[in-house]
Symmetry: C2
Subunit: 214 residues, 2 copies
DNA sequence: AAAACTTTGTTACTTGCGGTAACGAGAGTC
DNA sequence: GACTCTCGTTACCGCAAGTAACAAAGTTTT
């Protein structure tokens, strides 16, 4: 069959690609996001031009890496998000899953957050606002989908769910980032605090000015 | 007096520094965050080593630039944050101020969001979690201060206010970033949606399938 | 079987940037 | 007049991204 021949090549290429990605992963995890193409090639046991043949440029490689990890994280999150429990519980589980992931592997997380580089000259008036990590965008969209699907928001639900999706993801990310750096409390406490925030505790709290003393 | 002589030099150096920063600003605003030191030096009418004498390295220059802009933004935000109106109004005004700022000058905003680079070799086990833009950290801390100062959160208020400060800033940032890219609605609508989220509308909304508890 | 092509890999190069060393010219000081 | 101190230059180093040109293997075509 001709299919086997062609498939053989494709499979071989795919296997190679996966091997390269795994090598790249090791290097990036070891050396951080600044890892050089040379280093990655060396780890994979080959030389630079092959990497470029497979991934085009550094952006391509990093994008492929990011997609892998993002997919993995998304799978974990979806499980927490789609649980049949009550909303608050689901929210807490999702927050905890995310935080556990970044806690377990800060290097991966750190890499995912700024894949955008570029020795690029030119391209002055590119498009604005696309610097942020695609991971966050994907998470935001995913969460938006779930919200719209499961929460009754009346009219404007399309807009609201997306705003909230991105907003909540951003909240989770920023708080997680800060928490990871300072470790001011346990993960459970952080989850509680964030869930409380989403549950309107900021709106419900009283002013301090009328308080004791002063 | 000797003081005048010394002050003369210092003033001259400071003026120079400011000129250089302004030149750098123009270039960064024109060419994006990838602007080269050569380009900045050329814009300032001098050559590279002078930049390095003034700012140490590229990180130093970018940090100085970032501090300038961050200070400016913080001043605007503090005005909205310290208003004597009601809390919801204050929150909305603050959100709107931030969004208006990033809308008015996306280039600046874009630059502020990833000043961290580094051709650094070595330093393998640096510190994790410091990749995020210092702007967000400063905003988060600032907001935390205001929250703790004006909202009664009972015990744990120190922790809660900081978590919320960073969380809310992250929410604002992520939603703003997405909004700036897609422009799915007016600024006012976005502000409303985010304030609604903070006001617990997510918790208050009903489920879409079956009842709560399921 | 020999020629041609594809795949897989190499070495060696170019370009461009961050950063630095070494040197040069004015201006104030002993 | 020599000394030094700041401001400025040119010319370089090192390094990383990306590419061109070439080499050896297997596969297909004639």
């Amino acid at each position: 069959m001709e299919t086997t021949g062609r498939t053989d090549q494709e499979r071989s290429a795919d296997r190679r690609r996966r091997e390269l990605l795994e090598a790249a992963d090791r290097v990036v995890l070891r050396d951080g996001p600044g890892a050089s193409m040379n280093a990655i090639a060396a780890e994979a046991g080959i030389t630079k031009p092959i990497l470029y043949r497979h991934f085009g440029d550094k952006g391509g490689l990093y994008k492929a890496l990011a997609v892998r990890h993002t997919d993995a994280l998304l799978d974990a999150l979806r499980a927490a998000l789609d649980a049949p429990s009550e909303r608050r519980e689901r929210v807490e589980a999702t927050l905890d899953t995310y935080l556990a992931a970044i806690e377990a592997n800060p290097q991966v997380y750190r890499f995912l957050m700024h894949p955008s580089e570029g020795t690029s000259q030119g391209e002055g008036a590119f498009d604005v606002g696309l610097h942020s990590a695609p991971l966050l965008r994907r998470l935001g969209e995913e969460l938006a989908k779930v919200i719209e699907e499961r929460v009754d928001l009346g009219p404007e639900s399309a807009l609201l769910s997306r705003v909230w999706g991105h907003g909540i993801v951003g909240m989770m990310h920023a708080a997680g980032d800060w928490w990871l750096g300072e470790r001011p409390c346990s993960r459970a406490q952080l989850v509680q605090s964030l869930a409380d925030l989403l549950w309107g505790r900021l709106a419900a709290a009283g002013d301090r000015v009328g308080g004791p003393g002063f």
